[in-house]
Symmetry: C2
Amino acid sequence: MSTVWKRWANRLALTGLFAMTTVPLLHSDEGMWLYNNPPLKVLKERYNFEPSQEWLDHLRMSSVRFNSGGSGSFVSSNGLVLTNHHVGADTLQKISTKEKDYIKTGFYAKTQADEVPAKDLELNILLSITDVTDKVNAAAKPDMTPGEAALARRKVMNELESTALEGKDKNKFRADVVTLYNGGAYHLYQFKRYTDVRLVFAPEKDIAFFGGDPDNFEYPRYDLDVCFFRAYEDGKPAQPEHYLKWSEAGTKEGDLTFVSGHPGRTSRGLTMAHLEYIRDKLAPYQLNYLRRIEVLLKTYSDRSQENKQEAQEDLFSIQNSRKARLGGMGGLQDPVLMGKKAKEEADLREAIAKDPKLKDYEGAYAEIESTLKYAREYFIDNNLWERGQAFHSDLFGKARTLVRIAEEKAKPDGERLREYRSSGIKSLELALFSEAPIHDNLEVVQLADSLGMMVELAGVDHPLVKKILAGKSPTERASELVRGSKLGQLSERKRLYEGGKDAIAASNDPMIQLAKLVDDEARKVRKAFEEKVEEPQRQAYGKIAKARFAVQGTGVYPDATFTLRLSFGPVKGYEENGQKVPAFTNLSGAFERSKAQGNVDPFMLPESWHKAKDKIKLDTPFNFVSTADIIGGNSGSPVVDRKGEFVGIIFDGNIQSLVLDYAYSDAIARAVSVDSRGILESLKSVYGTTDLVNELLKK
Amino acid sequence: MSTVWKRWANRLALTGLFAMTTVPLLHSDEGMWLYNNPPLKVLKERYNFEPSQEWLDHLRMSSVRFNSGGSGSFVSSNGLVLTNHHVGADTLQKISTKEKDYIKTGFYAKTQADEVPAKDLELNILLSITDVTDKVNAAAKPDMTPGEAALARRKVMNELESTALEGKDKNKFRADVVTLYNGGAYHLYQFKRYTDVRLVFAPEKDIAFFGGDPDNFEYPRYDLDVCFFRAYEDGKPAQPEHYLKWSEAGTKEGDLTFVSGHPGRTSRGLTMAHLEYIRDKLAPYQLNYLRRIEVLLKTYSDRSQENKQEAQEDLFSIQNSRKARLGGMGGLQDPVLMGKKAKEEADLREAIAKDPKLKDYEGAYAEIESTLKYAREYFIDNNLWERGQAFHSDLFGKARTLVRIAEEKAKPDGERLREYRSSGIKSLELALFSEAPIHDNLEVVQLADSLGMMVELAGVDHPLVKKILAGKSPTERASELVRGSKLGQLSERKRLYEGGKDAIAASNDPMIQLAKLVDDEARKVRKAFEEKVEEPQRQAYGKIAKARFAVQGTGVYPDATFTLRLSFGPVKGYEENGQKVPAFTNLSGAFERSKAQGNVDPFMLPESWHKAKDKIKLDTPFNFVSTADIIGGNSGSPVVDRKGEFVGIIFDGNIQSLVLDYAYSDAIARAVSVDSRGILESLKSVYGTTDLVNELLKK
C-alpha cells in the first residue's frame, strides 16, 4: 500500500512514528468512524437520521481507495470512478511524454478505445471487516520480549491475510490486517482489487488546481479538482455492484452530508509526551526536509520546460505536505490547543488512578515516554538507512525492493517483513514493474542532494558513509550511480526479480550494490525501532485504549489509518477575522478571481474556459464547505446526502483545518468540496463531454 | 556598514563566525589583493605588466563601495556611478510604490531633475590606508584575559577612528579599522562618504536578471545587470577626482583584465577543524535557515501581485545566498578539495614544528579547535538572541537599534559596542531614519515564522521564550507586536532617538518592550562569544599568520573583508563536460535563449527589446568570463584593461566558482561580467538614452 496521502500528508516521512488511539471527548460533528462502528447514536440525536445497514453497505462499496494515496467513488454501472485531479495527477504524470503533457492540457476519451491505461494504479473496494483482535493478541504472549512479541504478531497477521486469500485470485482480491487504536484492536479488511484502470477525463491543471500553491488550503476556492477513470476487469469495463447516483439538485447550506473515504493519519490520541516529541523533534525535522526537497525541485523545474514537466507532480506533493505540516505545527505550538489536550490527559489519568480496576494501565504513559528516548536515539539512522532518505532516487527504491524480495521470498510467509508478505506481492509487483518513466537528470539531482544530506546528518567519518561515497563527492557519486544503473529498464528489473538471490548476488549494477551495502544497517535499525519503539508503544497504547474504553465507553473512533471511514456534518459557512465566508462559491467567481489577480499563473484560467464563458451558467455552485471531519487521504472522497446521492467531492480543507491532525474543531475548520452541479455544468458547457454526462446521468 | 554582499553572501548569517587569514600557496591568477600590497611580482612575471602608483591610485579612487552590499565605479566627471542592477535593486525596491514598480519597469531620468533620491544608500571611496597593527596589538597586553583583551582592542580601534575624523565633516568622511588576517594586521581605512545618491537609469528586471534564479551562477549568460546612480554633494553632482574612461573597443579573449571591488568574505585561511565546523554545523544550519525563509517569501509572494512586489528583492537575495552556500557546501563535501587543504595544513604545521623560532605558534591549532567547542555551545543562543533570528522583522531591528543606542551613547566612545561608536553614528542614523516602506503583512508573516523557529530551537519551556510569547501562539503574538508598534513612523523613531534613555524607558511600544526584554540575554551571549570564541580565534589566527609569513613570506593576501581589493586574470573560456564554453556571448543570444525556453518567465525579454530588435547590432558582445578571483560583494566591480579603461562590470560567478569561498581555482571557475560594448549598444539602440551615452563617452 502506498503511503502517499494526497493533501496534508507527507509522502516521504510517514512510517512507524505515529501511533493511533482514541480521542477522549467528542465534539459535535467529530469523528472518522469505522463502518463496523458507525455513529448511529449521534446521528439520531443530533440530526434525527438513522441510516439502514443497506444505506451503509451501499456507500461503503461505492467507495474506492486509490492506493497511490487518495479516495474516490464508483459513479456509474460501467466502472466509472471519480477522484480528484490531484489524486489522478500521479497517473497523469506517469503517462505523459515530451510530446503530450496530460497535466497541463487535460484529456477526454471520446470512446472507450481512447481511454489511456494507468501505469501502476491499484484501486480497492472494501468488501468485509472481521475483528481478529483476540487472535493477534493471543500470539503475543505476556512472557515474550518486545522483539519476540512483534515477530509473533507479524506472523499471525501475515498468516491471517494469506488464509483470507486462499483459493482466491490474488490479482482481484486483497486482504490486510489493520492495527486500530494502535493495539486496541486488529481488524481483517478484505478488498476487491482493480489494477486495469484507464483515464477517461481530466481538465487542465489551470482550472483543476486554480490558485495553485498560494490558494491551496484556502477558501473561498474555485477548483475543478476532478478526474475520471474507468476500472476494467478481464479487459472489460467493471460492473460494480454498487455505485453512487449523481445528484443534479446538489446540496444546500445546512444540509447534512456524509463523507466516505480514507483519511491517512491523525495523531489525536497520542500522549502529551508523544505530541511534544513530534513538536520538538519530528515536525521540525520533517519541515526542514520538505523545504529542502521543495527548493531542490523548484530550482530544477525552473531550469527548463522539460524539467518542469518531470518534477511538477512531486513538487506539488511536497508543497502540499509542507503547508499541511506547517499548519499542524501551528496547532502544536498553540498553548490553547495544547492546554486543552493536557487537561484531557490529566482527567483521564486521574480517572485511571482512582479506579482500582484500571491500576494496571497507569504505567502506560511512562512506558510511552521511555520509547521516545529510543525514537530520538534512532531518529537519524532510521530516516537515512531504513526509510531511505539518504537515497532520494526511484532507481534506488527499485534496487532495494529487488534486493529485499530476493531475501524475503526465501523465508516462510509469517517471518517476512510486512511489505513482502505473499498476500501483498501483487501490489508490490505492480509498483516494481511500473512502466512510469524515470528521469535520469532528476534522479542525479535528487540523489546528489540526499547524499549530501546524509553527510550532514551522519557525518563524513561514518564508516557506511565512507563506503557509500567511495572517495567521491556526493554529486560525482550520484551521477555514477544513476548513469551506471540499468534498473531503468523494465527487462532488467524482471530479470533480477526472476533470478532471485543468485541474480542479485551476481549483479554488478551500482544501485543493486548500493542497496546491498546499506541493507544490514537498515534492517538493524528497523529491528531496533520495532523492538524498542513500535511494539512497546503498541502495548502501551493498547492499555490506554482499554482504560479509555472503560472510562468513556466504546463509542469512540480510532485515529486515521488510510482505511475506509465515515464522517458527517452539515454544509456550513464560517466567520474569519469578523468576515462572513459563505458556504458556496460559483463558477462566476473563478473568472472574477482570475481577473483580480491579473490573470497570471497560477490564476490563469484555461483557454477552454474563456472560450466557453458565454455558454456557462455562471451562477452554478462550484465549491462548498462542510464541517465533516477529514484529513489527508480523504481527497477524492464522495460527499453524499441523506439519500446517499453524490452531491460533491472532497478536495481540500481550509487553512484552519490543518490542526485537525491533533484535534477536531468545527468552529472554523472546514472540509472543501467540488459541487456535483459545478462538475456537471463544466462537463456540459466547457468540455462538451456528452457521453460522459449521459453515463453519469444514465441517459 | 551593511553586511549584505550581493551574490554569494547570506545577508542574514554573516557576523563573527568567520575568521580570516592567509592562503598558503598561490595558484596562477589567485588573489584578492590589498591596494597597499599589490601583486607586482606575479603581474610582472606572468603578464609582464608593471602598474604605476598613479595607475593603482586612479583605479582605487574610481572604485565605489555600496554599503548596501556591493561594488561600483565612477564613470563620469559628473558623479555618475555604475553598479549592478541587483546591487541597485535594494534601492529600486525602497523607492517603489504600489503605483510604480521600478524593479519591473526600469527607469531613465532624462534630466537631472528627474533623478530619484535613494532612501538610505551610502557610497564610500577609499582615500587612504594606514597600518595600525602595532597600536592595536599594544593595547591587548599579554597578561589580560580574553575578555579584557577584546575590550582593550575595541577601545583603541574606536579611538583611532574618532581621531581620524577629528575636525572633519562626519557626513562626508568615514574611518574604519579593518582586521586583516584576523589579527595578523590592523589597517585604518579612511573614506570619502556620499549619502545623497540618485537613480539615473535601470533596465527592466526581465533583462537585468534574464534567466532569473535558474540561470543565476550559470554561464553562458545574457544579462544587462547594470544600474546608474549619480552621487551628489551639497546638492550638486559630485565632481570626483578620479573616474574610469569608458572603453568603446572593449576587451577580447586572452586580454589581461583587472577587477577592483569589495569581496565580502572568504574562508580560505581557516584551519581544517574550523572548516569542519562550518561543514558539519554552520553551513547545514544556514542552508536550512535560508530554505525556510525562501519558502516563506515565495509562498507570500505568490499570494498576490502586491505581495510579490513587497518581497521580491528579499526573495532574490535569499535564493542567491542559498545557491551560493550550496555551492560552497559542495566544496566542503568534496574529498579532493578538502584533501588538498588538509595536505597544505599538514605541510605548514610540519614546517612550524621543525623551526625552533616558530615553536610558540604550534599551539594555535589546538586553541582554535577549543574555541569551536564554545562556538557550538553558544550557536543557537547567539543566532536567536544576539543576531536576532528569532525576530525576523524590520520593526524589531529598529527597536533594537533604538534601545541599544540609548544605552551605548551614555558610555565613553571606547567602551561602546563597535556598531555604536561615534565614528559610525552617521551611517547608523541613515539606516534608522530610512523612509523605505515597512510592509505590515510581510512583517507579521516573517515574525510569526521566526518566533516559531525560536520555539523549535530554544524549546517551549525556555523562560525567555515564555516571556516573549506571553501565552500566545507565535502567529498571534507576531500580529500583536507588529500591529501594535508605531515604529513604522519616522517621527516616532526620531522622538525615541532624541528622547534617549528616558524615552525608551517610558515607551510602551510592544517592539521596544520586546527589544528590552531580550537585550540582557543577547548581550550576555555576545559577550561570551567574544570572550570564548572571537578574541581567542583572533589571537590564534594571529599566531598562524605570523608563522605563515615566516615560512611563506609576506607576499600573500588576507581573506576577504568587504574592503577594496584588486584581482586580475585574462578573459578566458573553459571546458565543461567536454563542451567548450566560449568566453563571450552576444546580444543575439538573449533572443535565442528566450525563444528556446518558450518565452516564459524568467526567460521573457522585455517589450522594449522586442520592439528594438531590428535596430540592435546583434553581434555586439554582451557578457564575458575571466579568471579573476572574486566572491560575493564584488558584484558591480569595474573590470579594466591594462590602460585602466572600463571594459566591463562583474555581476556573477559561474557555478564552479562557488567553492572559491574555500579555495581558488582557475580550471573552470570564472567571474562573469557585462561587456562595456553590450551596455553601450543597449543604451543606444534599446533605451535611446542619448544624454547618458554622451556623458559616458564625454561627447
